[in-house]
Symmetry: C2
Subunit: 356 residues, 2 copies
């Protein structure tokens, strides 16, 4: 293949799609045509990518004709239906939904961790991991390569945009409600009542998010686990290639617009020297170490948002668990957590297709 | 002693003191005189307790004359100086600061867990635990009595009022700033700049708290640990009476006004049946179980704030750690986390003094 590959972005108008167009406009321009695809409702809209206006086309089998790589940033059921259509028309699909991630014939790829697996795609589909897993996986990948990870205990601090633009809008609306009444938040249920009276009950979250934390994301799985917690477990195992990795995750939504954070208790086959771990992380280009708490340096969402790298800090040796390292990460769930990782996978596939 | 005991409340005008006066006005009235004490700056103010106006007196040795029990809700250094003065004047001190908690001659008491230890007070001082430890300790106490706790891995979601009224005021000011500009929170540092421009840098928190999470509370200890994280470890061991309890805590501040939450990964000597654990917790009067995620039932700060019990939910068997139970707790850090537990200790001492 000598021409530049043609790319389709399916779900171009969503929260992740919007960030994707920004990312495609800033990264090295390896693409020929970039075709934008969305639901019929958004067809005809003109969006800017690489400084040019591009008209959005309605999702239909024909939009994939001549497409080399199709990125999907759409709900699971749309991917499940349409990714095989794109493959049948000759495209390699990079899918950001949960539809194919645990399929043994679909690689689940983070370029810095297991990029070589993109070539092993019998279904023509490559999956992009869940945004919560992605917030920590670059850091864990670096440490695992050196010290062999055996177990993680994770608690998340997940942003509203993990629930899409509707999640962001709801959080902003709720923040306006609670900011106008300085008595709220000190009596049982008063925030719940104020938010419900002003905004109604129709929210992407199962409880108020402003001035609150909500220990639930996704749907119920066996044993009281949430689907989000099961994704962290299963996807970490698959990406890192450790089928028996012990994982325990508690996923909690917090009133942050964008950028997921995680407190990670990571256990290895042997003792890890904190200084060596810090050096390895500093050397990794996709990671920024912020670890001087007395100087106010630690990862926070308002600093990491809009950035490509994962921020890591609070590195410390567990006092009572000799083979365990504690750390705290913040990563933009729309960038590395979604659009950026998808773009990176697509670039690897493009390099393979063009022999670059 | 036949008369009703005299109580002094030192720090009556602070965030915890204010909740204390409310609690003293609502609980069984076992007190004779209630004397209110604060810094000279607040002397002369009249505060309401038990429906009556009481004038605040300035902290001085003489205010403890005739006092049977003195509660201290003041910074560590004030307690360190003045608790011995109160003891010398004949009072038993119940201290909510960190000044004496790890002193082997000072019991650290949670009435439902180790109430009997109030009698063993060679210095005349009893300490009230840190608010973060208190958010989980009733739940852990119940489970430990039955299954023998060996290790906990904890990540906290701590409220602004843990940093006093100044923390609450700062959070509310920051929320007003971010609620007025719906573009904030999507670019690196924009929240930090907006908050700093509008409110200045003088904050009880080392980073913006609105639309953010801040993985730091307290001061730096050896190995990169925060003082707050060390308190959780050391105080849990002392209260539960497990000197070799393995503890790993990550303390994170979140934009919640009042009520701390914790994700707890609790390991026991043997396998714990989740159903039995839930039943034991339901039977404990100081605990409310909210554990039906599909029905939207899980603990959250906006529901638990202003309530006496600890809320617990998200109970589940760890999938990869056979002896481990996962749970999520929310507890009002000014009530059970501070004023309520102090009042309960004072009531136990009063019962002992009066032979009730």
């Amino acid at each position: 293949m000598s021409r530049k590959p043609t790319l389709a972005v399916v779900g171009a108008t969503g929260a992740v799609g919007t960030v994707m167009l920004d990312i495609l406009s800033r990264r090295e321009d390896i693409w020929g045509e970039i075709r934008l695809v969305a639901s019929a409702r958004s067809a005809g809209k003109v969006l800017s990518v690489r400084g040019e206006g591009v008209e959005v086309r309605a999702l239909a089998p024909g939009v994939f004709d001549g497409v080399d790589i199709a990125m999907f940033d759409v709900p699971d059921e749309i991917s499940a239906d349409w990714a095989p259509v794109a493959v049948a028309r000759g495209a390699v699909v990079v899918d950001n939904s949960g539809a194919f991630r645990m399929d043994p014939d679909v690689p689940l790829v983070v370029p810095e961790v297991n990029g070589a697996e993109i070539t092993n795609r019998p279904k023509g589909i490559i999956s992009n991991p869940n945004c919560t897993t992605l917030a920590m996986i670059d850091v864990l990948g670096v440490l695992h390569r050196r010290w062999q990870l055996t177990a993680i205990v994770v608690a998340s601090y997940q942003a509203a945009s993990g629930a899409g633009q509707a999640g962001v809008d709801r959080l902003r609306d709720e923040l306006e409600v609670v900011a106008t009444d300085r008595s709220l938040g000190e009596r049982p249920g008063d925030v719940r009542r104020a938010v419900s009276e002003k905004l109604g009950e129709d929210s992407p979250f199962p409880a108020p998010l402003a001035m609150n934390v909500v220990p639930w994301a996704g749907s119920l799985r066996e044993g009281g686990w949430s689907s989000e917690e099961m994704k962290v477990r299963n996807e970490s195992r698959k990406i890192l290639g450790i089928p028996d990795l012990k994982v325990s995750a508690t996923c909690v939504r917090v009133p942050v617009v964008t950028t997921h954070s995680l407190a990670v208790h990571a256990t290895f086959a042997g003792r890890v020297d904190v200084g060596n771990a810090r050096r390895l992380l500093v050397e990794a280009p996709q990671i920024v170490v912020m670890d001087d708490p007395e100087a106010g340096e630690f990862p926070t969402p308002v600093d990491a948002v809009g950035c490509d790298p994962t921020f890591v800090g609070r590195l410390r040796q567990s006092l009572d668990f000799p083979k365990t390292l504690e750390l705290f990460v913040s990563g933009d769930n729309l960038r590395k957590g979604a659009a950026l990782n998808t773009a990176q996978i697509a670039e690897l596939v493009a390099a393979q297709l063009t022999g670059a």
